[in-house]
Each structure stands twice: as C-alpha cells, then as structure tokens.
Assembly symmetry: none
C-alpha cells in the first residue's frame, strides 16, 4: 500500500487515440508548466516508467528524446533524465514576440470554434486554481 510518492504520476489512456509517447510528453510538459516538476528533478527511469505504464521502453525513450530536443530535459547516459536547468537564451523582447505569436494563433483557432478570449482566460484560471488537474 505504501507507495512511494512520485514527483509525477503519468497515466496512459489507450482509448484516447493519442499516441502513448505523446501522452507522456504532454503530461510532463503540463507538470513543468504548472510547477509540479521543477529544475533538476529526475524523471522516472526509462525502464521503470515503461513497466508502470505497461509500455515498451522504446516508447518512453521516444518521449524523453523529444523533450530533450526541445531542451526541457537533460539526459545522461547511465544516470538518468532530469528537468533541464537551462532556459533557452532569449531576450525579453524575443520572448514577448514568441508568446504573442503563440497566443494569437491560439486565439484565432479558438475563435473558429466560437470561443472568446474571455472563455479561454476563465478556463485557464480555473485550471490553475484546481492545482492543474
């Protein structure tokens, strides 16, 4: 019963249609975004996560690799995979521009579904207050 408390608990939904490796990526990204995973924390090992999720180790590897390419995690052969401490070097102006571009695209997309900026803000606020799910 006494299960060790994990930094992150990942769950795979085989019926969602979303690839396993992508579900892993999404949940880790979420955890980073909302602060559950902080700099330097070690992710579950490839094998242990593979066993937990009843998935092939290579599927975990694929997820971790993509995260590493994006610079979110650091991988050390023989040691483990850790949340990266280096943030991408960007000026504040660059950051602002990138965020603006992302948000505008998203607002546009949402608008085509009939959602307003207000809807989005409300959802995000609730989302954060719920402890990010």
């Amino acid at each position: 019963m006494d299960k060790k408390k994990e930094a992150i608990h990942i769950v795979i939904d085989p019926t969602s249609g979303i690839p396993y490796y992508r579900q892993i990526i999404l949940q880790i990204e979420m955890a980073i975004a909302d602060g559950r995973l902080t700099v330097g924390r070690q992710l579950p090992t490839v094998r242990s996560l593979a066993v937990d999720l009843q998935v092939n180790p290579n599927t975990v590897v694929r997820a971790y690799n993509e995260l590493e390419i994006r610079g979110l995690v650091n991988t050390q052969h023989g040691t483990g995979t850790f949340i990266s401490d280096k943030r991408v070097e960007m000026s504040d102006v660059d950051r602002e521009q990138i965020l603006a571009q992302l948000v505008r695209g998203f607002v546009s997309q949402s608008a085509s579904y009939g959602f307003t900026v207000h809807d989005i803000i409300k959802y995000l606020t609730d989302y954060r207050e719920e402890g990010a799910l």
Copy 2:
C-alpha cells in the same frame, strides 16, 4: 489573361510537410476569419479546385468534409459547397470538452517554449485590456 476574380485563392506548398487537405482547410479557415469569405459564398467546386491545385478531387473532398463537420460550410449534393450561416449546435458539456482539449494542447506547446500558465494568463489579460478583440 483576364482571370475571373476568385473569392479565395488557395496555394499548396508540397514541401511544407503539411498534408494537402489540411493546407486547404487552414486557408479557408483563415479566409473566413478575416472576412474574405462571407456567409453564403460558394467555395470552388471540388473538381475545379482539384484541377487548380493539381490535386486529386478526393483530397479536396476530404478538406470540405472536415469543414462541414465543424459546421463552417454547408454542402449540397449536386449544387455546391457554401460558407455556412449557422453556428454549431453544441451542449455546454461538449463546449467545455473542446475548450479543454484546445487549452491543454496550447499549454503544452507553450511549456515547450518555457512559458507557464501564469505567463499565458497574464498575456491574455493584458491583450484583452488593450482592447484587442
């Protein structure tokens, strides 16, 4: 030389890695969003667009079908495809689910650029206060 002025001019980029049918969808969505395509306007016929883009008719069909499923266009067998005037009927639950899906994807994407939920909320709030949208 005197080419008839089209409501919309679609261009396919075969090198982009984005599926043809999706490129078509995106460009039509954009055109609707910024007012180039208004309610009731007829889209190019399946065949004519297929010829224009040098693409198979079924590729156009696929794009139009997806647009119809989303309620952006109306298709009438034997007549044509038109920009829809009705907004999609959705239950509140469906709306919530779709918004959740959209936002989660966006939060993930933003996280991979180092942005947090807080960053996004702040930007959106400022954005709205500036009267943009």
